[in-house]
Point group: C2
């Protein structure tokens, strides 16, 4: 049965995952990491699905990355055993959950300030095993992270001295296409740590747009990539994926054809989201790449057909590669898995885990 016939059994809008393509994407980047002696720690935020996290481990990843405790809890429930949470964990409610989680898997977190370190230590000082804490470094992306090697050393020292914690190394979410600068930043931090007598067991970098240059950050020991498993329109634009490499698409139906060059589809921000990531328009229409998704409201997508001869009818279906795959996974309670000639529904177990 062709995929078009299979799709006919799915009500729209729907998020469809081509599992074989996801597996090819996993394999391809794992091979790259292996070839460069780089450990791979995939970020599960993209799929939020335990079975794909397990596929990443089976392919050779050393563990997974989560952004939230709630995501990590779901993954630990499913049997994942080595988790890095790349987030400043603050507040008694969260740190107590973290302690419960640390008792059942190998866990590490990050910190970029002393309030986080002190809050973790207050709880983990009473725990049977210490918690590994990496120092998050702002190597140019301008989000979280300490600002220079001096701050790295000061915070690493505080972690190393804190009851219940061990200093695990450095973590950064780097700016894209700036590998040399990031490498210099991290190398200087490592030298400063070494001079201070603080061993730095691992250096964790990340990102998908930059993934084929991950080995240029020579100081990194592991790489966290998320979106590579699905790819999306932002990665097509970035030149690291082609439409046929994309494993996640949104299946939509044309519900209205008000004018010759306007088509309205049943996918709006509730499936595609408003994420632009610097792009123009809200997705790539597989059936007609020249059709532009010019506007979204919550349940409607507006297509401008003036640049294409494609004239879909009401009821026709189309597939859209979204600008940003990760946020689409978070919009739906379940996705449809296309694999082995069938389609099945799969709950997005780690969806909506905001704490």
């Amino acid at each position: 049965m062709g995929s078009r016939d299979l799709f006919a059994r799915i009500d729209t809008p729907a998020v469809v995952i081509d599992v074989a393509q996801a597996e090819r994407n996993i394999r391809r980047f794992q091979d790259y990491a292996d070839a460069h002696g780089l450990k791979l720690r995939p970020h599960i935020k993209t799929h939020k699905l335990p079975f794909l996290a397990k596929a990443q481990i089976a392919a050779g990843a050393i563990g997974i990355t989560c952004q939230k405790i709630g995501e990590a809890e779901v993954m630990a429930d499913a049997g994942l055993t080595d988790i890095l949470i790349t987030y400043n964990i603050l507040g008694a409610a969260k740190v107590l959950r973290l302690a419960a989680l640390a008792r059942r898997c190998k866990l590490a977190v990050v910190a970029d300030n002393s309030a986080v370190v002190d809050g973790l230590s207050a709880v983990f000082a009473q725990e049977p095993a210490p918690l590994e804490v990496l120092v998050e470094c702002d190597t140019g992306a301008g989000r979280c992270g300490v600002q220079n090697a001096e701050e790295v050393v000061a915070l690493a020292r505080r972690i190393a001295a804190a009851p219940g914690l061990t200093f695990g190394g450095l973590m950064t979410y780097p700016p894209m296409r700036d590998e040399a600068k990031v490498d210099t930043w991290l190398s200087q931090a490592q030298q400063a740590l070494s001079a201070a007598g603080l061993p730095c067991p691992r250096v964790s970098s990340g990102g998908t747009p930059n993934m084929w240059r991950a080995h240029d950050i020579t100081s990194a020991t592991e790489h966290r990539a998320g979106t590579y498993i699905y790819n999306d329109r932002s990665l097509i634009k970035a030149g690291v994926a082609k439409p046929e490499d994309c494993a996640l698409s949104v299946l939509a139906t044309v519900v209205s054809r008000p004018t010759e060059t306007r088509a309205i589809i049943d996918a709006g921000t509730k499936t595609l989201t408003s994420d632009l990531l610097g792009l123009s328009g809200y997705g790539h229409v597989v059936e007609a790449p020249e059709a532009r998704i010019v506007g979204l409201s919550e349940e409607h997508g507006t297509l401008d057909l003036s640049a294409t001869d494609w004239r879909p009818e009401v009821g026709d279906r189309l597939r859209i590669i979204p600008n940003h795959a990760c946020v689409v996974s978070n919009m739906v309670d379940s996705v449809w898995l296309l694999q082995n000639g069938t389609v099945t529904q799969e709950s997005v177990a780690a969806r909506g885990k905001i704490t």
Copy 2:
């Protein structure tokens, strides 16, 4: 207990609803509608909460509006009895659900093309009672809708002749601040229907930014507004609400202070969404309106403090009025209700209903 103490019991990020404020917003617009002899049919997409839909009915609304069958099913389950679904319903799976729903509440839908009408008729011809169908009109907003009075008459005729359907009138989601043009459009359509011998029992208009001018669309018999129950930053910008009128806010924690003028909070697109609605920045910070939310990633919000003296510390909490309240309701499994001096968690029963 002050609301600040109550908030301390809530883990962040969290969506908080000030129920008394929501009730004031309901009352204020219901009073306006009553004063102008306009029926009010609130759109539940904003809150997705049955108890607030019931509060709207108790205040005088004649029924509710939903965009999706899944939302209407949740509301009917909760006891709501009069529902308009303002969407082209297509495909056997959906129309069969619609038929089941029509057996347990007063239901109406819209159509802007003959494929939708024929699909509805094919199922409802076998049902015990006919389905009311309104013709959706594009009065200038450029989304769905027939384009002129001639198309209105042709489609109304098709509905009236279709087994299992009755023609219910006209529906439009109008362009904002263009009441005279919308009124002319609808009046001409009504005249054409009258000339064709087709009675037009109701004319349904909608929108919140334009809600205080709803009576200027003199041909409308009912008005559908959604966001007015919560208000949001887009409505503050539109001049129809003040920050203190906003009943929904996002409670967030400062998790990082990497530089003097940068603060990172734990609310990103997974709570605030990327919706800009023409605004600059991603929300209004109640504690410091001059602080600008300049960027969001999925779990981080980046605040630029350079225009304010406010210097929050790591662990401090703040409240954000989002650009667009409706989409925020859709991001979370539950909201926190602040009422009668307590906070309680409430499931967002109609969240994520995309079909």
